[in-house]
Structure formats: structure tokens, C-alpha cells
């Protein structure tokens, strides 16, 4: 890419808005996923009986099963949330930057 184009984009305030918005959102979402996953796996490491406890009085189904499934569903939901925001905010900014500099 030509130096002047790089310079033009780099000095566009919308570019900075895009970079800061997207990177903070991406890292926050990643941290959320990591926290949830590690909460799950460290519970397994430290307190197995908690997850092996019956879901209700006399049940064979344990707390761990809906929790595990919930982590899976949550991971999918997070990707959906990211797409929503990316479509609404990041793509719009990217389009505007392209219109202004190209």
C-alpha cells in the first residue's frame, strides 16, 4: 500500500475511532469468554462435588450438565453479539473511512 494512503487513513479521526472501539470490544469479549470458561474449568478443579450435585432433590441430572451446556450456548451467543455490533458500528465506520480516503 502506498505511504500516502496509509498516512491519509492514519490521520483520519474515524480510523482511530474504529481501531479503539473495535479493539476494546474484541478484548472485552475475549476476556468475558475466558472468565466464563475458566470459572467452569476451575470449578471442576477445585470443587467437583458442586457440579456433581443433583439438580433437584432426588435427581440423577447434575448441576454440571446444564452448566456445561450453558457454556456452549453462551459461546455461540457471544459470537452473535459480536456480529451485531460489528455490522452496526465497525462496518459503518470502515465504509465511511473508505469513502473519505479512496
Amino acid at each position: 500500500m502506498q505511504q500516502d494512503l496509509v498516512h491519509a487513513i492514519k490521520s483520519n479521526p474515524k480510523y482511530h475511532e474504529l481501531v479503539s472501539k473495535r479493539s476494546s470490544f474484541s478484548w472485552i469479549m475475549s476476556v468475558v469468554m475466558l472468565v466464563i470458561y475458566y470459572a467452569f474449568i476451575l470449578t471442576i478443579a477445585y470443587d467437583k462435588p458442586l457440579l456433581a450435585a443433583p439438580l433437584w432433590e432426588g435427581a440423577t441430572m447434575t448441576v454440571g450438565i446444564p452448566v456445561g451446556v450453558a457454556v456452549i450456548v453462551f459461546a455461540f451467543a457471544l459470537t452473535g453479539i459480536y456480529i451485531q455490533r460489528a455490522n452496526a458500528v465497525f462496518d459503518k465506520l470502515t465504509r465511511e473511512i473508505k469513502e473519505e480516503v479512496l
Binding site: 500500500m1 487513513i9 470490544f25 440423577t60 456445561g68 455461540f76 470502515t94 479512496l102
Partner: protein, 559 residues
């Protein structure tokens, strides 16, 4: 529960068809090692269809971009299915359901770990890969760094991962055929090798992708039928998971222990390390990463991850149901018993899902699932082989050996030769390795991928002060430390080599080997005061602009 109720009529129909077949005679017990006719017919149909696709794709595969990246014309939805297909390998399908069959809840821990890597891939690398890359992930890693050493590192790491992953897939193929088709292990492995060489050399990425998409569709429908059918039968028709769990606990040798976490995760350190390997290993698998170059732009790239995550998550929930269904329906069932095999069933625990299909839907469903499982191996091995061949032709041949001065057609030719060689290597590996639990083998691969490929990929996208020296030090240290620690760890040192107590206590060394890799990159970079390092710092700005906006990225093909 309402979901189960709604699915009920379909399951009923399917169940009636299944029991009608079963009532036709107790074929399973008599024809244990006999040739499974429906399986072979369905498998031949699949092979014919995929060869047709290969022929069609061959007509459209002319340029290097066609060969490596299907011309960049795959949509996000299609690519999501293809990625899910790559991920739903024989190891996931047979291995995880087998693990649930043996240990219950522990199988779910693996699934969760493998799934949660996907959102991270979406948030941190999917769009960036698409914006910066061309054919292989080494394109990103070498973007602003010294070409020859970086490509050599990335290609070596990619090949190590591909070969390790291939072993698991080929072993799965051999086992499957032993149980199902009445064919010899060696023949089976050779057939797989020849077919994948044909798909990849003639049809390139386009054929590989479509084979993967079709297989993903078949596998998802097959797994849905088995899981719901098994739930129906195992819950006495009530479709209540609770009832199925009750019966599973009654018959399983470990009793109530299967309902909670067991021996898989022992210490907190072990669990953190396992989690890192499963999560970030995904982001270091070359055959997955190359899929991001087949879509038109970054928007399609992130869409693919959304669909892939959904399908994979759904599939994992099904494998969990299948594992428990297998406990109830196969344990103590004389039709499937084999006291000598692991788990006491024919073919060992890795055949739990396949035996379960026979228990649920008789010979027809068994045939269908056998064919699908075989197709799964073919499709995943094709993707792996193409990833390995790209590393050899695009990275090692074109960029390292020929310094980028190479004719596109010549590069594709080298790629095809590499495919043939890798196909033969896959056959030999399949024959050499046989008696390991394939899910664990995949877990080993993930440790290496997480420590060697992922750190240099992530850091080259985000760390502006990274230099060639830092990347090389970190990358090689990650690769070497992960490999060595796996070898001296419990799985290889103690269980395979039987050398007594392992030198390194963890099965999954990712916590340590990833730390070593990241520290190596960081220290190697900040202590680098060369002229080259300064230029690389400056080059980050242009890379970042392209990475963030997609301006200057490889465009989609016009056709």
C-alpha cells in the same frame, strides 16, 4: 421438554423403521465381521458424488488462488459449514462420544474447551486473517518480517501439526473399517490415502471445501437422528434426559460418578493448561486457518465463525447425548458385546457411536453412519493434506527455496506433488499407529498448535514492537518446548513408551509452552536493536491499516 415432544413424531417414524429392520432377524450377532452391504452402497454413493464434485471443481481450478483458496468465492454460511466439518472430525465424533461412553461427564469438558476457542478466534483473528493473508497463515506471520526464516518456521510448525492430526484421523479410518466394512485395516487406510490424493490434486480447495460441506450436512443429520433416537429408546419413549441418565447410572460400572467431573481434570494447573491447549490450539490449526482465505472479505470471515460455532456447539451436545445413549443401550447388550475390547463393546469405546447407530436404527442407520464416518475422515484428511501441501509449496518452495520468484503454475504443480507425498505419508502413519485413544491424540496436537502457531500469529497481528528475531525465538521455543514436554509427559513417556514416572507432570503442557513462546517473542523483540527491527516497527503501521480496514487486502475472484 417441549422440544423433545415436538421431535417425537419424527423419532417415532424412524424408530419404527429401525425396529422393523431389527425384527427382520438378528443379523448383527451373526454377521459381526461380515461385509456391511448398506454401508458399502452408501459409501460408494458418497465417493461417486465427491468424485463428481472433484471433476466439476477441477474444471474451475486454474490459478493458484483457485487451488489454495477456492478462488475466494465461498460464502460465510458455506465456509461456516466447512469449518464445522473440519472440526467435527472422526476424533470428535467417535472419540468424544466414546469418552462419554467410558467416563460420562468428562467428555463434555473436552467439548466445552474445544468450542470456547471459536469466539476468541472471531474476536481476535478471523477478520485480521482475511485482511492480511493470501493462502496460508504464514502469509500473516511473514507479512512485515524477514521472509525466509519466518516462512520456514511457520511451515515447519504447520507441518508438525498436520502430521500429528493426520495420525489420529488415519487411525480412526482404519478402526472404523475393521468393524464395519469387513475390510482389512491396511486396505482401508490405503483407500483413504488414494481418495484424498485425488480430491486434493484434481479439485484443490474448491473440491475440498464442497466435500467438507456435504459431509458436515450428512454428519449433522446422522448425529441428530442417532442422538434423538437413542434418547427415545434409552428413556423408554419419554424423551426425558433424566430418565436416560437414571438408567445409565444403573448399568455403568462407575455408577453415579459418570454424572460429574471425574479423573480428566485433577489439579488446577492441569485444568488451566488443558483449557489453554483446547482453546488456543484451534487458533493454531493450519487447515482451519486456511479456510479464512476462501471467503470474499472480513465480513464473510466473521460470519463463518458464527455459523461454525453454532453447528459445532449443537454437534457437541449431540455427542454427549450419544455417549449416554450408548451407555444405556450397549452396556450388557450381547449383540454389541466384546469382553476383550475397551468398554466391553465391539471395536472398543471409539466405536460407541457406530454401534449405537445399529442399536437405534438397525443395519440401514449403521450403514449410513459408517459411510458418514468414513466420509468424515476423507474430508478432514483432505483439508489437512491441502494445508500441509500449501505449507510445502507456497511457503517452503515458492517463498523460501525460490525466494518468491516462481511461476504460479509451477507452484501449484509442486503443491500437487506434495499432496501425493503427504497422502503416502498419511497411509504409512495410519499403519504405524493403531492402539491410542484418538481423542487424546488430538489433544496432543492442540498443545503444539497452541504453543507454536498461535503465539506468533496473535503477536504479529497485535504487537507493533515485534521483530523477526523475537518471532523466531518465541516460535521455535514454543514448538520445541511443546513437543519435548509432551514427549516427557504422562501420555507419551509413561503410557506409550512405558518408561516409568514422567519427567514432566502435565498431560497438556500448553500453560508452560505458551508462556515460553510469548516470553520468547517479547524478550527477543525488545532486545533487538538492529536496523531491520526499526524498519519492522515502522512497517506495522501499514500492516495495521490494512488489517483494520481491509484496504489493500486480497480481493475475491470475479467468477
Amino acid at each position: 421438554m417441549s422440544l423433545w415432544k415436538r421431535a417425537f413424531p419424527a423419532i417415532c417414524l424412524m424408530f419404527m423403521a429401525g425396529s422393523a429392520l431389527a425384527a427382520g432377524g438378528d443379523l448383527g450377532a451373526v454377521q459381526k465381521a461380515a461385509v456391511n452391504v448398506p454401508a458399502i452402497i452408501m459409501f460408494l454413493v458418497f465417493v461417486a458424488a465427491t468424485l463428481g464434485i472433484t471433476y466439476w471443481a477441477a474444471q474451475r481450478t486454474k490459478t493458484a488462488k483457485d487451488f489454495y483458496a477456492a478462488g475466494g468465492g465461498i460464502t460465510g454460511f458455506q465456509n461456516g459449514l466447512a469449518i464445522a466439518g473440519d472440526y467435527m472430525s472422526a476424533a470428535s465424533f467417535l472419540g468424544i462420544s466414546g469418552l462419554v461412553f467410558l467416563n460420562g461427564y468428562d467428555g463434555l469438558i473436552f467439548s466445552v474447551g474445544w468450542l470456547v476457542g471459536w469466539p476468541i478466534i472471531m474476536f481476535l483473528i478471523a477478520e485480521q486473517l482475511r485482511n492480511l493473508g493470501k493462502y496460508t497463515y504464514a502469509d500473516i506471520v511473514a507479512y512485515r518480517f524477514e521472509r525466509v526464516p519466518m516462512r520456514s518456521l511457520a511451515a515447519t510448525a504447520a507441518l508438525v501439526v498436520v502430521v500429528l492430526y493426520l495420525i489420529g484421523q488415519m487411525v480412526g479410518a482404519g478402526k472404523l473399517i475393521q468393524v464395519l466394512f469387513g475390510l482389512d485395516y491396511v486396505y482401508a487406510v490405503i483407500i483413504v490415502g488414494i481418495l484424498i490424493i485425488m480430491y486434493v490434486t484434481f479439485g484443490g480447495m474448491l473440491a475440498t471445501t464442497w466435500v467438507q460441506i456435504i459431509k458436515a450436512g450428512l454428519l449433522l443429520s446422522g448425529a441428530t437422528i442417532i442422538a434423538l433416537g437413542a434418547l427415545y429408546l434409552a428413556s423408554d419413549g419419554s424423551m426425558s434426559p433424566e430418565r436416560m441418565f437414571q438408567k445409565a447410572v444403573e448399568v455403568h460400572p462407575k455408577k453415579g460418578a459418570i454424572m460429574g467431573p471425574g479423573a480428566l481434570v485433577t489439579s488446577p494447573i492441569e485444568s488451566i493448561s488443558l483449557g489453554l491447549a483446547l482453546m488456543f490450539g484451534t487458533a493454531g490449526l493450519p487447515h482451519i486457518l486456511m479456510r479464512f482465505f476462501t471467503v470474499g472479505n472480513a465480513i464473510e470471515a466473521r460470519k463463518s465463525v458464527f455459523y461454525a460455532t453454532g453447528w459445532i456447539g449443537y454437534f457437541y451436545i449431540l455427542t454427549f447425548l450419544m455417549g449416554f445413549g450408548a451407555i444405556v443401550l450397549l452396556t450388557g447388550n450381547p449383540e454389541f458385546a466384546d469382553a476383550a475390547a475397551v468398554g466391553g463393546i465391539k471395536g472398543g469405546q471409539n466405536m460407541a457411536a457406530v454401534n449405537l447407530s445399529a442399536a437405534v436404527g438397525g443395519n440401514i442407520l449403521l450403514g449410513f453412519i459408517s459411510a458418514v464416518a468414513f466420509a468424515t475422515i476423507l474430508a478432514v484428511v483432505s483439508g489437512l493434506t491441502l494445508a500441509g501441501a500449501s505449507a510445502i509449496s507456497h511457503d517452503l518452495y515458492a517463498n523460501v527455496w525460490a525466494h518468491g520468484n516462481v511461476d504460479e503454475q509451477q507452484e501449484v504443480r509442486v503443491s500437487k506433488i506434495a499432496t501425493v507425498v503427504l497422502g503416502i505419508i498419511a497411509i504409512l502413519l495410519g499403519i504405524a499407529f493403531e492402539k491410542q485413544n484418538i481423542a487424546y491424540l488430538v489433544a496432543l496436537t492442540f498443545s503444539v498448535a497452541a504453543s507454536a502457531n498461535f503465539p506468533i500469529l496473535l503477536m504479529s497481528i497485535y504487537y507493533s514492537k515485534m521483530t523477526t528475531r523475537g518471532a523466531l525465538i518465541g516460535g521455535w521455543l514454543g514448538l520445541i518446548s511443546a513437543t519435548v514436554l509432551v514427549i516427557v509427559g504422562p501420555t507419551v513417556w509413561k503410557e506409550i513408551l512405558q518408561l516409568g514416572d514422567p519427567i514432566f507432570p502435565l498431560k497438556y503442557p500448553a500453560l508452560f509452552s505458551m508462556t515460553i513462546a510469548f516470553l520468547g517473542i517479547w524478550i527477543g523483540s525488545i532486545t533487538d536493536t538492529s536496523e531491520r527491527a526499526k524498519k519492522e516497527h515502522e512497517a506495522f503501521i501499514a500492516q495495521d491499516v490494512r488489517c483494520q480496514t481491509g484496504i489493500g487486502a486480497e480481493g475475491a475472484a470475479s467468477h
